[in-house]
């Protein structure tokens, strides 16, 4: 099996190399956010936190962070609510035009962001609500609701199909059952969905750039810096954004994976 083993080794090396390609920019940004050089290259300069100091002292950056937090939190709540309603409707009911209903909900992620950004900009301007924080929220929730719906729908698949009927059978009305059975059961998926949609919203730049006007979010700030000269501040912001998103994603994954395993054991 010698050629087989050699081949295996080659394949694994290739895999490793692929991962390197994917993670180089991330690692790079991390490393050079702590580097004193103005233009990140080798040989490395000194260890320095000046870029972090710069962004922490920049009121525009802080405002952007606050905006991003507001937008992603609101988006997460709205998208999760919409996603939950849709997932439940899909789970429980059969109705006419259900195919159209689901297409309507699941279509947005298939359209390139720049097109959505243009469409949102035009429409929201016409309605006179462009340039506000909450107009970004509206746009982002359209984009992220499908993810929320998918996560919660998967969780509902794990539910014993008799569970809802059992609750009715024991005297729970439909609303009571929703409150005491369905929602508690979906809790991990709901939390997971909130984290995920928040993370997606936090990083989204195309729609934010077009629609947010003066209320810039963090990705918009990054865009502006990047359009200017090479500025390592971007690395510092990027690392900060990365850590925030990662925390959200890990929380989401932990909740979802542990409950998926528990559910499988059932």
């Amino acid at each position: 099996m010698k050629p087989g083993r050699f081949l295996n080794f080659l394949l694994k090396f290739y895999l490793f190399f692929t991962f390197i390609f994917i993670f180089i920019p991330i690692a790079f940004s991390l490393v050079f956010s702590f580097n004193s050089q103005r233009f990140p290259t080798i040989p490395l300069g000194n260890f320095s936190t000046e870029w972090y100091e710069k962004i922490f002292n920049d009121p525009d950056v802080w405002q952007a962070v606050i905006n991003s937090i507001i937008v992603s939190t609101c988006t997460a709540l709205v998208a999760t609510f919409l996603g939950f309603c849709t997932a439940y409707s899909d789970f429980r009911y059969r109705f006419k035009l259900k195919g159209l209903y689901l297409t309507l909900v699941l279509l947005p992620p298939t359209i390139p962001l720049i097109i959505l950004a243009l469409a949102m900009l035009a429409w929201l301007s016409k309605l006179g609500i462009s340039g506000q924080i909450w107009s970004v929220v509206c746009a982002h929730s359209v984009l992220t609701a499908p993810f929320a719906m998918a996560i919660i729908r998967l969780r509902l698949n794990q539910m014993d199909p008799d569970l809802e009927a059992a609750a009715w059978n024991l005297g729970g009305s439909e609303w009571s059952t929703m409150r005491h059975v369905i929602i508690p059961f979906c809790k991990p998926a709901i939390i997971s969905s909130v984290c995920l949609t928040a993370a997606v919203s936090f990083d989204e730049f195309a729609i934010s750039w077009f629609v947010s006007g003066l209320n810039k979010t963090v990705p918009v700030i990054i865009l502006e810096i990047v359009q200017g000269n090479i500025d390592p501040q971007v690395n510092a912001i990027g690392t900060f954004v990365f850590l925030t998103s990662m925390t959200l994603v890990i929380t989401a994954q932990l909740f979802f994976l542990t409950w998926q395993m528990k559910g499988a054991r059932k």
């Binding site: 014993d160 609750a167 024991l170 009571s176 508690p184």
Partner: protein, 363 residues
């Protein structure tokens, strides 16, 4: 004669073009243990669900205590059910599960606690009160599911194949538990199953369903000994069903000609017309086995084809010269008295007064 607890009158259920329940009429009396039994797809679960309010009849009336229930929503009925999948709430502890129905009813927290612990105790699982559902064994989950429904102190308890997920030895034990519970509490049990042994072991009355219709209603013994039609005769018990033609009718007997021979039956409730086609039915456990030609009027010579052992009972599959299959059932210790290996011809015989006759439906 008290009013029956539940009546089904001309109840029909259609799902789109498919008729799950064609037309059924029956009554359930207070305090009885009723089993609804039949093969998959016969409509028994649909019937139970209609009683629980989870399906609405397309036609007909369902009454509980005289009240028309067709439009009454499931949560407004008092018909708690024990589910096939048990449907315990995985995010609640055992005690919280049992309290659920009481909580929906608005009963106070302290009273709920007392009642739920009381019932968990009655079912022998009080020490599991704080446990996570996922840590329980199959048998324990069963008991919790029972407690959850019984704590509601209903008039009627519905059970949808609750033992189907259990291991065989647990099934026997749970059957005893259920029978005893029902007797002690006096609650009406409506038990749906596809298992003949379960239905016959526990119920005092059985409804046999087939393709959406009721084939027979009666006590287990009546159904076993006097199947009302060909389906029941084939489905229940081990019966030898021979097709025959009536060739002679006297005052108290009739002679039927079959492919394997002419046999006699004592006249009872059946109207024998000469030349009519009938099913001549003799239950496998009423057939006698011998190595020598017997004295009775009804006998046939057979070869042994195969044996089937289930615990202490053995069923012998035999074949007569013309190819008709005969089944005989006996205790294993009876069989061991015969030297089956060194003989090739055996004689089966049966008493003429134990034969059951059904009119034959030509297909």
């Amino acid at each position: 004669m008290t009013e029956p607890l539940v009546t089904f009158k001309q109840v029909q259920k259609k799902f789109g073009n498919i008729t799950a329940v064609k037309e059924i009429n029956f009554e359930i009396n207070e305090g009885e243990f009723l089993a609804i039994m039949g093969p998959s797809g016969c409509g028994k679960t649909t019937t139970l669900r209609m009683l629980a309010g989870l399906e609405i009849p397309t036609f007909g009336e369902i009454r509980l205590n005289g009240r028309l229930m067709n439009d009454v929503r499931p949560h407004e009925r008092d018909t708690p059910m024990v589910w096939q999948t048990l449907a315990l709430f995985p995010f609640l502890t055992v005690q919280e599960n049992v309290e659920f129905g009481l909580k929906m009813r608005g009963i106070s927290t302290s009273e709920r606690k007392i009642k739920s612990l009381d019932w968990l105790d009655k079912l022998g699982v009080k020490e599991l009160a704080r446990r996570d559902i996922n840590t329980l064994s199959g048998g324990q989950k069963q008991r919790v599911a029972l407690a959850r429904s019984l704590v509601m102190e209903p008039q009627i308890l519905l059970l949808d194949e609750p033992l189907s997920a259990l291991d065989a030895h647990l099934v026997i034990r749970m059957q005893a538990v259920l029978t005893q519970l029902q007797k002690e509490l006096g609650i009406t049990f409506v038990y749906v199953t596809h298992s003949q042994s379960e239905a016959f072991a526990m119920a005092n009355r059985v409804i046999i369903m087939h393709e959406g219709e009721i084939s027979q209603i009666g006590s287990p013994k009546d159904i076993y000994r006097s199947p009302a039609n060909q389906f029941v005769a084939e489905f229940v018990g081990r019966n030898n069903i021979l097709i025959g033609k009536v060739i002679k009718v006297t005052d108290n007997t009739a002679t039927i000609r079959t492919d394997s021979g002419n046999y006699v039956v004592t006249m009872r409730n059946f109207e024998f017309k000469k030349d009519s086609l009938v099913n001549y039915i003799i239950s496998a456990d009423l057939v006698n086995f011998s190595l020598k030609k017997p004295e009775e009027e009804n006998f046939v010579k057979c070869r042994l084809i195969s044996e089937e052992f289930v615990g202490s009972m053995v069923t012998l599959f035999m074949e007569s010269n013309d190819g008709t299959e005969f089944k005989i059932q006996m205790q294993e210790r009876e069989l061991s008295r015969f030297d089956v290996k060194n003989n090739s011809d055996f004689w089966l015989s049966w008493p003429k007064d134990k034969v059951h006759i059904l009119k034959r439906i030509d297909l």
